[in-house]
Symmetry: C2
Subunit: 90 residues, 2 copies
DNA sequence: GACATATTTAGACGATTGTATAAATATCTC
DNA sequence: GAGATATTTATACAATCGTCTAAATATGTC
C-alpha cells in the first residue's frame, strides 16, 4: 500500500475527479471543464492520480482518455478491512 | 466524508499510529516511544487523528489513553465500496 | 506548595503542495 | 509545413504540513 496512494486521495479536487470517472471514462478536457481552476492545474492533479495508479490513460488522437483503475480501490478496501475492520483480529 | 479524514490518512506516521492502536489502546507516551521523532511531534499527529475523529481519548490520571474509533473506518470502507466498488453501479 | 511525570500548545523553519501563467509537445486538418 | 486544438511540462509563489525546541498545562507524590 503505497504512500502516494493516500497522498493522492488527500485532495478534494482529486477525489471529485475520481467520482466523475465512476460515471464514465472522460478525456482530460472533459474533466478539466468541470472545475473552476486552470486546465494545467487539473492536469497536474491527473498526473498525481496516475502516479498513484488510481487512473489509467489511453491516447485517442488528440485526446487522452482517463479511466478509473478499480483494482486499486479493491486493494484499498481490503487494506482498511483487514487492518481496521470490525473483526480484523478474528 | 470529511476532508480532514483523508488528510489525516495521508501521513505514514499517522497510519502507523492507527495500526498500533489496532493491537490495543495505548497512552500518548506509549505511542510516542515507538517513533524516532520528538514527543511533541507525535502529539501533533495524535491531534490530527483526533480532529479527524479517527481516534478518541480518555484521561487516566496523568496519562491520556488513545483508542481507535472503528466507526469511522466502517464509514470509510462504505465510502469506497459504494462509490468505487466493482458493482457500485449495480 | 514544590517537584516530578505526562502531555499539549506555541512559535519557528524548511519541505511539500496546489494553483497560476507561459512555454513545450502531440495530433489533426488544410 | 502552418495553424488549430488538446494536453502536459516548466517555473514561480503563497499556503499548508511535519518537525523541532521551549513553554505551558494537568496530574500525582511528597
Amino acid at each position: 500500500m503505497d504512500d502516494s496512494l493516500f497522498r493522492a486521495l488527500a485532495d478534494p479536487t482529486r477525489r471529485r475527479i475520481l467520482e466523475l470517472l465512476t460515471e464514465k471514462d472522460r478525456t482530460a478536457g472533459e474533466i478539466a471543464e468541470q472545475f473552476p481552476m486552470a486546465f494545467a492545474s487539473v492536469s497536474h492533479h491527473l498526473g498525481v492520480l496516475k502516479a498513484a495508479d488510481l487512473v489509467a490513460t489511453e491516447r485517442e488522437g488528440q485526446f487522452i482518455r482517463y479511466r478509473l483503475n478499480t483494482t486499486v480501490f479493491q486493494e484499498l478496501v481490503r487494506y482498511f478491512m483487514t487492518r481496521f475492520g470490525r473483526d480484523s483480529n478474528a
